[in-house]
């Protein structure tokens, strides 16, 4: 049996498990997909069971379990924060100290007990790696590069909030770090909170909001909130933030600076929120670009690997690529804390002499991020029969033909195939698909299918070989983590011809693929490669043959507030709750109009808003 190492992230947010065989990721999943609680932070029991089931292993078959952060080091930072914030932080002290003393400080022992309760045999040695080491390892070791500069940027783990590394072969050398409380991730989260979105999940919304605004607050942010140095290092002015003192990110200081109270969640968006989003996005991009230039100078490497929650800011990633500081950029698809499980396991595997066998093949080690569970036709049929669903069983060619015909006719299709994605993006395994040429599709998908805010953009999947014809993208983007401009040849109007502002910008058709063209002519592109997801590539190819368009709208298979679907049962439920027209579940095709009546009127109340 190969050497098996299990990586875990747990007990903060986005719990996950990853299994490596001889240093190669073979299974990975977030606990939220099984528990159906978004950003679930609990011990990832279901994800662990899935990973072990994938190879028929039990806990004694593992050579190690790797945990993604160092609890002792983190507790020292927590203690320093208590001291630094006294006497104003009793609220956070009262809530956070008891769990630290009762179990978090003895995390490895706690994890050992939780593993033992799985009834899968005795757990092996539990090893901890530092939080940013886990991020850096998840960025570099699976990347296709023999050597690279590595940047990890996030909110905070133990002390580090930003780290730079040099990766060569199976070694990572740390070069520099910034420490808590000076954090780009926390700065972005503070604005996310102030604009009325949830911290640790609403950051995407703020990024999507930015193109509607004007960055008129950048001067005040630079003067009062953050002192940025030439090398990208920075300090925040904690006088204006509340996160040291309690559960809130901002308070009266922000209200004084930005002209009023925090936006109430779900209240109408105003020019202020658009401009705040544009401003903090602009500052974030500036810091990331400067850090990247420093990483280039320190390492001399022409390639960069990114991870950490800030690496999910695909707009900043796109600007970084456009700046030309690096010839190529590779972003870990599970760049947030879920990917820490992968990084911790990889760091341990490499320190024990594992080899990066994928290097030199031109491919990365992520298998297209399709590392989650798959369901065969027997599983699917059993679920559908139990649910009383009406379906047809089709061969693959017929299934693709019928899905393409439906998409071309303006229908919305649930697409459930092969192994589930690892990371926050749906990449054509658990996706909702639509025709990007329809100017009404963006609004229809947001309001009738996803039940989410009207301003949120949708992303395109494009055949990798045709990406250049549609987008100004200098490299492949298989994980939908780079934003690029829609090609000028496809634009139907220029920036200067519009006087609309705010959400009125949504009413303007900007290109021949309007459903995936954001108000600033950009798109969060996924390039689809046959080696990563063959059936999805064949679907796109067939859509191109039928319509001459190589692009589909690809959004995650879920509704607002819900994790992406994992099982056929989840998919059927989501299909029936929304106005999706068609569902392709493996080789089974379901039409909404043929399904029996579905009674689940209160389902919206069961899913908390994100």
């Amino acid at each position: 049996m190969p050497e098996l190492i299990l990586g875990l992230s747990a007990h903060y947010h986005d719990s996950a498990a990853t299994l490596l065989a001889d240093g190669v990721p073979i299974a990975a999943a977030q606990q939220e997909r099984f528990s159906r609680r978004r950003h679930d932070s609990d011990f990832p029991a279901d994800a662990i069971r899935y990973c072990l089931d994938e190879v028929g292993a039990k806990l004694p078959d593992l050579s190690a379990v790797a945990y993604y952060e160092d609890p002792a080091l983190k507790f020292r930072r927590v203690l320093a924060t208590y001291l630094g914030a006294a006497p104003h932080a009793f609220g956070t002290f009262r809530h956070t100290l008891p769990p630290w003393l009762s179990w978090k400080l003895a995390m490895t022992r706690h994890l050992g007990r939780q593993l033992a309760r799985l009834d899968l045999g005795d757990p092996p040695q539990i090893v901890v790696r530092r939080h940013h080491e886990s991020h850096a390892a998840s960025a570099f070791f699976p990347s296709p590069y023999e050597s690279a500069a590595v940047l990890a940027i996030d909110g905070v783990g133990e002390w580090a909030t930003t780290t730079m590394w040099h990766g060569v072969g199976n070694q990572l050398r740390q070069l520099a770090e910034l420490r808590f409380p000076h954090s780009l991730g926390l700065l972005y989260s503070a604005f996310t909170y102030y604009c009325g979105f949830k911290v640790d999940s609403g950051e995407y919304k703020l990024m999507g909001l930015a193109p509607y605004g004007t960055p008129r607050y950048t001067d005040v942010i630079r003067e009062r909130l953050i002192d940025i140095k030439k090398d990208g290092s920075f300090r925040l002015n904690l006088r204006w933030f509340e996160f040291l003192r309690g559960q809130a990110m901002t308070g009266r200081g922000f209200e004084r600076l930005f002209g009023g109270p925090r936006r109430v969640p779900e209240a109408p968006l105003t020019e202020r929120e658009f401009d705040l989003a544009a401003s903090v996005q602009s500052i974030t991009e500036e810091v990331v670009l400067r850090l990247a230039r420093t990483a280039r100078r320190l390492t001399g490497e022409p390639r960069l690997c990114l991870a950490g929650g800030v690496a999910l800011n695909c707009v900043a990633n796109g600007k970084l690529l456009d700046a030309g500081t690096f010839e190529e950029v590779w972003v870990q698809p599970a760049a947030g804390d879920a990917g820490g499980s992968l990084g911790a396991a990889l760091a341990v595997a490499m320190s024990r002499g594992a080899r990066r066998v994928h290097v030199g093949t031109g491919r990365d080690a992520m298998s297209g991020a399709l590392l989650g569970p798959a369901y065969d036709d027997t599983d699917i049929r059993s679920t559908l029969d139990r649910r009383g669903a009406v379906y047809r069983v089709l061969d693959e060619a017929t299934l693709i033909d019928q899905v393409v015909a439906a998409l071309a006719a303006g229908k919305v299709v649930g697409w459930f195939q092969c192994r589930m994605e690892f990371g926050p993006r749906a990449l054509g395994a658990r996706s909702i698909l639509a025709d990007p040429r329809d100017p009404r599709m963006q609004s229809a998908l947001n309001l009738k299918i996803k039940f989410r805010e009207s301003f949120r953009p949708f992303a395109p999947s494009v055949l990798a070989e045709d990406a250049e014809a549609y987008f100004e993208l200098a490299q492949s983007s298989p994980y939908m983590l780079l934003v690029a401009k829609v090609s000028p040849a496809l634009r139907t109007r220029s920036d200067s011809t519009s006087h609309a502002t705010g959400l009125d910008l949504l009413r303007i058709t900007r290109s021949t693929i309007p459903a995936v063209t954001h108000v600033d002519f950009t798109a969060r592109v996924q390039t689809v490669h046959p080696e990563n997801n063959p059936i999805y590539h064949r679907l796109l190819t067939a859509f191109k043959e039928a319509t001459s368009c190589s692009v589909l709208v690809n959004t995650s298979f879920n509704v607002r507030g819900e994790p992406i679907v994992c099982s056929p049962d989840d998919a059927y439920t989501c299909f029936m709750r929304t106005r999706m027209d068609l569902l392709a579940l493996g080789g089974h095709l379901l039409e909404k109009s043929a399904q029996p009546p579905y009674q689940d009127d209160d389902w919206r109340a069961l899913i908390p808003m994100d």
Binding site: A86, A176, P181, K229, S233
Partner: protein, 60 residues
């Protein structure tokens, strides 16, 4: 752990220690220095980590 006990610990231990320690050294290094060229902690010649067993503990 009771709120009263936590309040006693916070206001009679953490707060005085925190206030006194900040006179000497702010554990969070909050000050700005406009004239400084960097806030980065550069780690010269740091070797790749190989101490994976340093914080290890046998499960259970």
């Amino acid at each position: 752990m009771s709120t009263a006990l936590l309040a006693l610990a916070y206001y009679f231990i953490v707060t005085p220690v925190g206030l006194l320690s900040r006179i000497v050294h702010d554990p969070l290094r909050r000050g700005w220095n406009r004239r400084a060229s960097t806030y980065m902690h550069y780690l010269a010649n740091r070797s790749p980590r190989t101490d994976h067993g340093a914080s290890a503990q046998k499960g259970v």
